[in-house]
């Protein structure tokens, strides 16, 4: 019936090739979800006409919350009545994206009862994304989600759902407990998550080490990236074992070190730790031989964003090192000053990184009461935003 009803000549092109196809997956879901035919039909129409047919909903949501629901309506509801309303719900994911199979079944059952059954696991901010429901189904769905222990995530000018790498749950390089930090920040700032108070969105992301598996340096307004202060832990016997197995330590480890802080004389690896910039390359290349140091904590960085209103930004160092056990208190104290400044001077839809660009990093640091330190810049004279005054 479905194939007869909807011709998807253009969409079918997206099923070719060895990679997964969302068209194939939606077609599979046709058997259980009546909205899929209309969804495919409307999308095919958009490809034919080269025009999008979704309208943005402005006020749909659940009682008391200003985030978590993204309203979508079709502008051709007569042709595709099953997707006349097609709202998205963002559900706050567990830290590190760990689920029991029972939890996943619960989520899917709820969504089968109240929505299209189509999900996106996960959205780019990390939420569980429920795709497509009607306005009348929002409250019942939210009720079932909360009864099952889930909550909605952020959208609009909220603090967005914080996300974290798997951290200490599965990774020996985690320099702090990312999952705990993500969970604690989520609970601490429930109001900011659900009731939009800011000029625009604000994202926290927690990476346990400089490999930055959640790409916080590129996407988070406040990136918390694990690092260490002392020397890289080194096991000489394991270094020798890597060499014996054929790893070209000179070429593939020392030769790729960005600061050339390592030497290999054919028997012994020597690291000048003062010059190490914690890029993780050597540790990634020889995980049994090298490991992050023992004095662990995190670097706080500010201002990254993907390109939407303006271009992409990478985050800048704000606090070079915070010991792991002081992280929560430091973030809370710092973020209140950052948010106060952004509240006062941020324009509508201006991310904090864009505000910093507009007013200058020097002024921003002054306003939040931080002194500039050398670790905030990549190299001398590269970032001329800090001027030292002569002290007469």
């Amino acid at each position: 019936m479905a194939d007869e009803k909807v011709q998807t000549k253009l969409l079918d092109e997206l099923e070719k090739g060895p990679w997964p196809s969302f068209v194939t997956e939606i077609k599979k879901a046709r058997k259980v979800s009546p909205v899929c035919d209309d969804l495919l039909g409307q999308l095919e129409l958009s490809y034919e006409e080269k025009v999008g047919h979704w309208k943005h909903g402005g006020i749909v949501g659940v009682m008391g919350y200003g985030g978590g629901v993204i309203g979508r309506y079709s502008d051709v509801p007569d042709k595709f009545p099953n997707v006349a309303h097609f709202h998205t719900m963002r559900v706050n994911q567990p830290s590190g994206w760990f689920y029991t199979s029972n939890a996943l079944r619960t989520l899917c059952d709820i969504w089968d009862r109240h929505g299209s059954g189509l999900t996106n696991m996960h959205g780019s901010t990390g939420d569980i994304v429920f795709l497509g429901t009607k306005t009348d189904e929002l409250e019942p769905c939210f009720k079932e989600l909360t009864e099952a222990g889930f909550d909605l995530g952020g959208s609009g000018s909220c603090m967005r759902t914080p996300s974290a790498c798997v951290g200490k749950a599965r990774c020996e390089w985690a320099c702090y407990d990312t999952m705990k930090m993500c969970n604690d920040i989520t609970h601490e700032y429930q109001d900011e998550l659900h009731r939009p108070p800011f000029p625009y969105k604000f994202k926290f992301k927690f990476s346990g080490c400089p490999n930055d598996c959640v790409a916080s340096i590129a996407r988070a307004d406040l990136s918390v990236i694990g690092t260490w202060k002392d020397d890289i832990q080194q096991n000489d016997a394991e270094v020798a074992a890597y060499a014996a197995k054929g790893l070209d330590i000179q070429e593939d480890v020392c030769g790729r070190c960005p600061t050339r802080c390592m030497k290999w004389d054919g028997k012994k690896l020597t690291i000048n730790n003062r010059e190490c910039v914690r890029c993780m390359h050597c540790i990634n290349a020889m995980p049994k031989a090298l490991a992050p140091g023992k004095e662990r904590g995190a670097t706080l960085l500010i201002g990254a964003k993907a390109p939407i209103v303006q271009g992409a930004l990478l985050s800048s160092v704000l606090v070079p090192f915070v010991p792991a056990d002081e992280l929560m208190d430091t973030i809370k104290e710092l973020i209140s000053r950052v948010w106060d400044f952004w509240d006062e001077y941020g324009k509508n839809r201006e991310r904090v990184g864009e505000l910093i660009q507009r007013v200058g990093m020097g002024n921003f640091l002054d306003a939040i009461g931080l002194d500039p330190v050398p670790e905030m810049i990549t190299a001398p004279r590269d970032n001329p935003y800090i001027y030292f005054k002569d002290e007469a």
């Binding site: 006020i59 009682m63 306005t135 609009g156 000018s157």
Partner: protein, 82 residues
């Protein structure tokens, strides 16, 4: 605090009502207006946050999203089908 949270909520509601259709107000705009009116020593941002929560939980106001999140009175969604 010079006013109760309920009074604050009522004043914010009146502001939203008066500017409806003319200007979109964000939570920060309401907060700044109330602090400007009563003075920083009399009112905190947290007081304003609680007042906004009263408005939202009672359904007298709702959040809207049009290129940013604003506080508005409940109304029929313009883009919703009849």
């Amino acid at each position: 605090m010079a006013v109760t949270t309920e009074q604050l909520a009522e004043e914010m509601y009146q502001m939203v009502k008066e500017t409806m259709g003319k200007k979109n107000l964000k939570a920060g705009d309401l907060t700044k207006a109330m602090i400007a009116k009563y003075g920083e020593g009399e009112l905190t941002k947290d007081d304003c946050k609680h007042a906004i929560r009263i408005l939202m939980d009672s359904g007298r106001c709702v959040y809207s999203y049009f290129g940013g999140s604003f506080i508005t009175l409940p109304h029929k969604e313009g883009s919703a089908p009849e």
